[in-house]
Amino acid sequence: MIETSIHHGVFEWHDIWQHLSPQSLYQLHLGYRGNFEKKHSSGDPNALEMAKKVEAIQSILCTYPPPQGLWRQCPCHVEDNTLHIHLPHAQPICLTFPRQDRPPYRCLTDFVTPEHAHITMMVVTSGAYPIDLIHSYVASRRYQEALIVHALYVQSAEATAEHLHAILQKNYQGKRYSFGYGACPDLGQQVCLFEILQPSTIGISLTSSHMMNPEGCVSALIFSNPDAYYFVH
């Protein structure tokens, strides 16, 4: 019997930092050229200096409200490309995903099998966008710090999703898929996920274009099938 209630977690910043992706933070957001981790471990002065600046901003962000998340596991069944999510005392909620038009003609629903007939939905947030902090840095021409705050804030949401997924994976293995990417590109289906998780309880809303507000949020479906993998259309 699956326990279908909505779970709420509040996480420690220190635990979240463990899941930061150096590649995303330093290379993607902060524009570091080359392999940051390798350079840092070899004692490259630029990499060390950048890490020091990031640590200084981390110590400031640690004084902000901690990241939070909601998650819920529900039984489900599939009909071809459509996933039917069963909620207690309610009609099933249906999500339809595209199928690849080339071999192996994969669709996310293929990962729901009689042995793995449940789905976990999650949404996490690193909190309100620290606009005042960023504005104060920009106003005083401390641009690097402004960019680091932005990067850490956004990447903390990703790290929180990783952290929560790691906790959930203690019970089962699977892959995490987010709307707007590869296997489930239709952001409009966020509406269904919001109906199931009620993220307004932790301050998350959807914009008219189905993006999450505040910016530091990640939502996902977890298909708990060890054979699940990432693919694109």
């Binding site: 021409r141 952001l187 274009s209 993006m211 910016e215």
Partner: protein
């Protein structure tokens, strides 16, 4: 007008001779305090957008390069049209992520064109370049939007 060191740094960044943090570090030390004869630019995101990255860097660039540039996040269609009156931009950059914006933009462009001095409109979308509305948009890619806002600003400077 002579090229300032802040613009030289921008060119070094654009030609991969300087990384992003070094560019920002240079701009911190050597701000360009002279308003330069570039067109008036407004960078906007639409109401459904939550990404600040492009706007943050556009703000920093305008402060550092002496651009006549204003940034407006989360605009409704009505607000966006108001910006045309209040800022009177010669160039309007709409940072835009999603396919869902396409119909909104298709409605907006004729209204913009009716203005007495319509701005040049470019769409900083997820196709990694300054692209026009008739281009197909793709799914959200914050880094692509940030890069394309940079690209649009670069076109003004270069």
């Amino acid at each position: 007008m002579a090229i300032s060191s802040s613009i030289e740094a921008w060119h070094a960044y654009k030609t991969h001779h300087m990384d992003l943090m070094s560019l920002l570090s240079h701009w911190e030390k050597f701000p360009d305090t002279v308003q330069r004869p570039h067109p008036r630019v407004a960078v906007c995101t639409l109401a459904g957008d939550t990404h600040h990255w492009g706007l943050l860097l556009a703000t920093i660039a305008s402060q550092s390069l002496g651009l006549h540039l204003t940034c407006h996040p989360h605009l409704s269609s009505h607000d966006l049209l108001s910006v045309l009156t209040t800022d009177n931009p010669e160039h309007l950059i709409i940072a835009c992520l999603l396919d869902t914006y396409k119909p909104i933009l298709q409605q907006l462009l004729p209204l913009i064109a009716q203005k007495p001095s319509p701005p040049l409109v470019s769409l900083a979308s997820s196709v990694l370049s300054t692209s026009w509305v008739q281009n197909n948009l793709h799914y959200p890619s914050p880094i692509a939007v940030y890069k394309s806002v940079w690209y649009a600003i670069g076109e003004l400077i270069d």
